[in-house]
Amino acid sequence: MTVPASESGIHKRVVLAEADIDRALTRIAHEILEANKGPRDLVLLGIPRRGFPLAQRLAQKIAAVDPSVDPDLITGQLDVTMYRDDLRRHPTRSPLATQLPPSGIDDKVVVLVDDVLYSGRTIRAGLDALADLGRPRAVRLAVLVDRGHRELPIRADHVGKNLPTSSLERVRVHLAEIDLIGGSAVDEVVIEDRT
């Protein structure tokens, strides 16, 4: 599946195509329902930017399994910018919106949703942000890709695909809701190798 890149020195490899992403999300949606013994008290919070569309898709799939669920009422977005531990190491980041479902998160089972789990620092920031917003009964983590190289004692409950990577590589998730490549919306997970 190796595609030579247009830019010299970067090799792109598609590791998950549209159908693979869809299958992984379907499985995660079932896993979430199974672990929670149904949709009761579930809240899916996506971490911007690509965690949010993933959370929306998971909610759609949960609603497809259990028609009593309104996907819009269990989905939200959790911005973690202000809680990051690397604010001073990067150019200024603009914060994005945090939107909680109308039911709030107190005593709910919150599933944090993100695209790639890497160092674990984003999730650490997400846990701190949650603590300022309420007190969930439990917090779980669902990610599309776990690429290893953890720097904190954090682990995902639901993983779309484990991708052993080198820290020199970059894992990029492109989602149709956000990403346009060559003018068309695509769903794919790509590993970029800079050699």
């Binding site: 001073r88 980041r93 603009s94 914060p95 919106a97 300022d132």
Partner: protein, 346 residues
């Protein structure tokens, strides 16, 4: 952005970024826990050489909500009254490792001097200098106007500009740093600005400003503005006879009950009345106007905290070695000015 000194040199891009960030900060102000850890361990000094209530309290609340440590400095009761110079005061603050200095000074240009002098490394925020500028007041006015403008259009306010809005600024423009900052910022954001005031209270060179000037308030109101901003009559800066009597000023230039009723007769249901405060009730604005549902005075104060949080966050949170806003890995989406030349460096 390293400093926030004036709105004249603020690009549309940075102005929108400040307002959009303020929008997220406003959401924090509605939470039960109104605190963010972003500026933990940083020190913000409020250096006030001139009296102020709301600006100082607002900056203090903003810094505290971002978890910064705040040191308040008022010229009264400090060594400034013993004759200490701005340079020595600044170097004292530098020795105490201040990360940001919020300065209000009676001399126009004092914040710019502080920022350019090399006396300190801290970010400088202008909280009002003489009759020059008051950028955070203009930003909070723009924020208030933008929310109003977006609400009547039925859009979310984040990302919108003030294109198509007509804002009338009335009164003592000569002594008003608020008016100057607003003229530059609102124009940058796409609004049309009208000024109205007695010729004695309009500065020399007002003709070169990007706005239309009226010498009669009722003529200006006939232009059907979307917002009317009344300026405070700055008696403390008036050392000459600018108008015959306060009574006459109030008749000709005050937003009184008659003009409030006129807005209704003209069918201007969505026109708001703004005032930067503190108000001289009965002089430039009547109590009925100040307390009417059109008045945004309290919303302006509330939005002040959000806007100042945004300013402090954007000035202090990034890598100090890296001033390049454009390398942000999450660029400003849907930049409404992306296709216009102003505010963009090629």
């Amino acid at each position: 952005m390293k400093h926030l000194l004036s709105t004249q040199d603020l690009s549309a891009r940075n102005a929108l970024r400040l307002l959009d960030t303020a929008e997220e900060m406003a959401a924090v102000g509605e939470r039960e826990i109104k605190k963010l850890p972003a500026l933990r361990g940083r020190t913000v000094v409020n250096l006030f050489f001139e009296d102020s209530t709301r600006t100082r309290i607002s900056f203090e609340a903003a810094a505290k909500r971002l978890s910064a440590d705040v040191i308040n400095f008022a010229a009264k009761g400090s060594s400034v009254s013993k004759g200490e110079s701005l340079k020595d005061t600044a170097q004292t603050l530098e020795a105490m490792s201040a990360d940001a200095v919020v300065i209000r000074h009676p001399a126009s240009g004092a914040p710019a001097r502080l920022a350019a002098s090399g006396w300190i490394d801290a970010a400088v925020v202008n909280a009002g200098d003489g009759t020059h500028e008051h950028p955070t007041q203009a930003l909070l006015d723009a924020f208030t106007l933008r929310r109003h403008w977006a609400r009547i259009a039925g859009n979310p306010s984040a990302g919108t500009t003030l294109v198509g809005m007509k804002v009338l600024i009335v009164g003592d423009v000569l002594h008003s740093r608020v008016a100057r900052s607003n003229v530059w910022l609102l124009t940058t954001l796409g609004a049309e600005v009208l000024l109205a005031g007695p010729p004695t209270l309009l500065p020399v060179g007002v003709g070169s400003w990007p706005c239309t000037v009226f010498y009669n308030l009722d003529d200006a109101l006939a232009q059907r503005p979307d917002a009317v901003m009344m300026l405070r009559l700055q008696a403390e800066r008036m050392n000459a006879a600018f108008f015959p009597s306060t009574r006459e000023y109030s008749r000709r230039w005050g937003f009184d009950d008659g003009r409030l009723a006129l807005l209704d007769t003209m069918g201007l249901d969505d026109t708001v009345i703004m005032h930067p405060g503190p108000m001289n009730r009965g002089l430039e604005i009547s109590s009925a106007a100040a307390d009417s549902p059109r008045s945004t005075v309290l919303a302006q104060v509330r939005n002040g905290v959000s806007v100042r949080m945004a300013a402090l966050y954007l000035l202090l949170s990034g890598d100090p070695q890296d001033d390049d806003d454009h390398s942000d890995d999450r660029p400003h989406q849907d930049d409404p000015f992306a296709t216009t030349p102003e505010g963009r460096t090629p």
